[in-house]
């Protein structure tokens, strides 16, 4: 009998459907997408294996791994796979491996399978994408394949869940096998290698030839081998005059020679196999020299139109209702400190955020449509040459586009960029792309200064300005990449080489869940920070050092004894805020931000949003509802319109708004991004350089805009 808890790993070529299968097995929602390189780190889940005939139920831990074309990693994400599979002491080392293969491209997918098999791991072959194979007029004979490869072969459809129960049963049967059959190698090295392998095997007490060979070829990538051990292996390589590149080429060619007759026997093709008709037809247009760019531009325009025009209806509705709710709460609850905290602090802050739910949902939904359909890979192709001009790679398109949703996952997707240099540049500039947390700031300021008129009959003027800001973010990212590439020396040539997936119909349920998930995490994550900061902010702006606030209040009351009660009330609130702790902070940094056109109230919001820019609008809502006349409740926008500057004119002039907009386009105000850059670059050097660079860029640009416009 095996131990109670079974561990299995999902391995396969990129885009073969591993994550989709993972989701079908575990019921979790690991991110999937129709292009290579979606999963960049391991992710675990469990399912329950119901034991039949007197056997107890068992839990199976499944690890979803990044896709890879062979056991020799070419990029950071692929390295994870062998680090686990070559190290039996690794906590994730599996009892069995499910190799997920794309049946429409069996020959290339089997290369990895033969390698995994040679590592001596109990293996099951899961034949996926059979529907795609069928549309290419290919039929795969699973029984034939199982006999030739000598492993269980299960036909599945990861998308529909077909065959998944059979696969689970196969896992159970495989791990329950009493004795491990000896490995039947698909490839046996000749020449000097066998002697080298024997020496490594006895040195490290290994019983598998191919694992020993991996020690020789990849020891620098194995985190479980200590430095002296690596040096010793280097010594062996010299002793046996092992030529790695030559050997690897020979190995791969030999493996394909073994695989070819197997595939020829198992796969029957009616006529000449071709990519599915739809894929060929769509590529004719989407990769067309002219229409390719036109469609790309149209798609982008539609996205912005959707974010601005379509989302405005639910947003207005939410805005009015939160204002009404706050007003109602204020009246119903007994007046006092708690009432103020709840309404002016918490509800105003939260209200400033939930209004953006429709925009976030639409944004994430559309990005996931691009990913699921397979169009993303085409964008990489049509943009590669442009990207290269700026020192980036066609693959940088994915982080840049998903950076429009959120920079944190976007920066993680850079792991699939194989050149370290191009990857670093991409990481450094991705935060300049306007993420969804900037959307609230953009929306509210645009609504303040840009009339909602139609241009050319179809485009909304506000939508166009928003498009402009996003474009500025993109241009800023590209130009910055180019500037940085002058300073960061290139160490290796980058390469592109990308498998083009066939187009697939997006699964609407999946897209729906992406939207739901993103909204949920936005509301919960952002909501938590905003809640905390609103409370802190409310406290800091309701209390002040010693009796400064009271003194200021008295002064105002005395000097305004002739004014109406209403005017006096507003002036008193404003004076109190100014002398509160928060007001003091605002006053403290005011000299630094004056040249950008901001006053101390904006200064408070700026300080509060340093850790997370989504706090900005909520903070403004809190500040202005505290400093405003507390009788009637207004929407955030109405409050901003009413706000006056020192000279009594409107505070939010176009110059101030544009200056703020530009500042937030560039400023790196997000702790999570700093943290993820630290993790991905293994140190503080790059996040600090990035932070400094972006802050200077933001300050200088905002300064220039304000000075030019006022």
């Amino acid at each position: 009998m095996k131990q109670e808890n079974i561990k299995i790993a999902l391995v396969g070529n990129p885009n073969a459907g591993k994550s989709t299968l993972f989701n079908a097995l575990t019921g979790l929602r690991q991110k999937t997408g129709n292009f290579p390189g979606v999963t960049v780190e391991k992710k675990s889940g469990t399912f329950r294996l119901v034991g039949g005939s007197g056997q107890p139920d068992r839990d199976v831990t499944v690890v979803d791994l990044p896709g890879t074309y062979s056991v020799y990693p070419k990029s950071a994400d692929e390295g994870v796979v062998m680090d686990i599979l070559a190290n039996p002491k690794h906590p994730d080392y599996p009892d069995a491996v499910i190799v997920v293969v794309d049946a429409s491209n069996l020959q290339r997918n089997l290369l990895l399978f033969t390698e995994i098999n040679d590592l001596g791991l109990p293996t099951i072959l899961a034949l996926n994408m059979l529907d795609v194979a069928a549309s290419m007029k290919l039929t795969v004979n699973a029984v034939q394949l199982a006999m030739q490869l000598n492993v269980p072969v299960v036909k599945i459809n990861a998308r529909t869940g077909e065959g998944v129960p059979i696969l689970q049963q196969a896992v159970s049967t495989l791990v329950d096998k009493k004795e491990k059959p000896s490995v039947k190698y698909f490839y046996v090295p000749k020449g000097n290698e066998p002697a080298l392998i024997e020496e490594v095997k006895s040195l490290h007490q290994l019983d598998n030839d191919y694992v020993a060979l991996q020690y020789v070829c990849q020891h620098d990538n194995f985190s479980f081998l200590a430095q002296p051990v690596r040096a010793k292996l280097d010594g062996l390589i010299e002793k046996y005059e092992f030529d790695e590149t030559g050997f690897l080429a020979e190995e791969t060619i030999a493996r394909y020679k073994t695989i070819k007759p197997i595939v020829d026997k198992a796969v029957k093709s009616e006529g000449i196999s071709e990519q599915p008709l739809w894929t060929r037809k769509l590529d004719k247009i989407l990769l067309h020299p002219f229409w390719g760019y036109v469609t790309f531009a149209i798609i982008l325009m539609v996205i912005f139109q959707a974010i601005f025009a379509w989302a405005s209806y639910p947003m207005d509705w939410i805005d009015e209702n939160t204002a009404a709710l706050i007003g109602w709460t204020k009246e119903v609850l007994p007046a006092g400190v708690l009432n103020d905290l709840l309404t002016d602090g918490i509800m105003a802050g939260i209200g400033g955020v939930i209004i953006f739910i429709p925009q976030i949902a639409i944004l994430f939904g559309l990005v996931s449509l691009l990913e699921e359909s397979g169009y993303m890979a085409r964008v990489m192709v049509i943009m590669d040459k442009v990207m290269r001009k700026f020192g980036l790679n066609g693959r940088s398109v994915v982080p840049l586009i998903s950076g429009v949703a959120c920079a944190v996952p976007a920066i993680m997707t850079t792991r699939s960029i194989s050149s370290r240099h191009e990857r670093l540049l991409t990481i450094l500039v991705t935060p300049i792309m306007s993420c969804s947390a900037r959307l609230p700031i953009y929306s509210i300021l645009i609504a303040l200064i840009i009339p909602s008129t139609k241009v050319l009959g179809i485009f909304n003027m506000q939508g166009l300005v928003l498009f402009g800001l996003y474009f500025l973010g993109l241009a800023g990212a590209l130009v910055s990449a180019w500037i940085l590439s002058l300073f960061i020396k290139r160490t290796e040539p980058g390469y592109f080489m990308l498998e083009m997936p066939t187009y697939k119909l997006p699964r609407w349920g999946h897209v729906g869940f992406m939207m739901y998930d993103s909204v949920k995490s936005f509301v919960l994550e952002a909501g938590k920070i905003i809640l905390a900061i609103s409370i802190i902010l409310w406290v800091l702006s309701s209390y002040g050092p010693s009796d400064h606030m009271e003194v200021a209040e008295k002064k105002v009351v005395m000097s305004m004894s002739s004014a109406s009660a209403e005017e006096r009330g507003a002036a008193v609130a404003s004076a109190r805020l100014e002398n509160s702790y928060a007001g003091n902070f605002g006053r403290f940094i005011e000299p630094a931000i004056r040249p950008l056109g901001y006053d101390w109230k904006i200064g408070i919001a700026l300080l509060a949003s340093f850790a997370a820019r989504e706090v900005f609008v909520g903070t403004m809502a809190t500040i202005y509802s505290i400093s405003g006349d507390s009788e009637d409740v207004l929407t955030v926008k109405q409050r901003l319109v009413q706000e006056k500057n020192d000279q009594g004119g409107p505070m939010y002039t176009p110059a101030v708004c544009y200056s703020l907009l530009i500042f937030y386009v560039f400023a790196m105000m997000c702790m999570s991004t700093i943290a993820v850059v630290y993790r991905e670059t293994h140190g503080w050097k790059w996040p600090l350089i990035q932070l400094g660079y972006l802050m200077v860029l933001a300050y200088v640009s905002a300064f220039a805009v304000y000075q030019l416009m006022s």
Partner: protein, 75 residues
Amino acid sequence: MSVRTVSQLQKGEKAVIRSFSDRLMSLKLLEMGCVPGCEVRLDAVAPLGDPICINVGGCYSLSLRLNEASTIEIE
């Protein structure tokens, strides 16, 4: 006449891979299924002339840069 490479293919033209001129690049290409003896066809050229998309062995479409394609020698 010098050897032709995949980068010199015309749109729709087919050819058989013979060998590779860059050792490191060949490893990646081999993994991707571009084996000597395999038939390739130029399917599409990106709007700016680079990268290109080739069909590998009738199985799938691979996109690669011209300088990468120029290391694949054809018959």
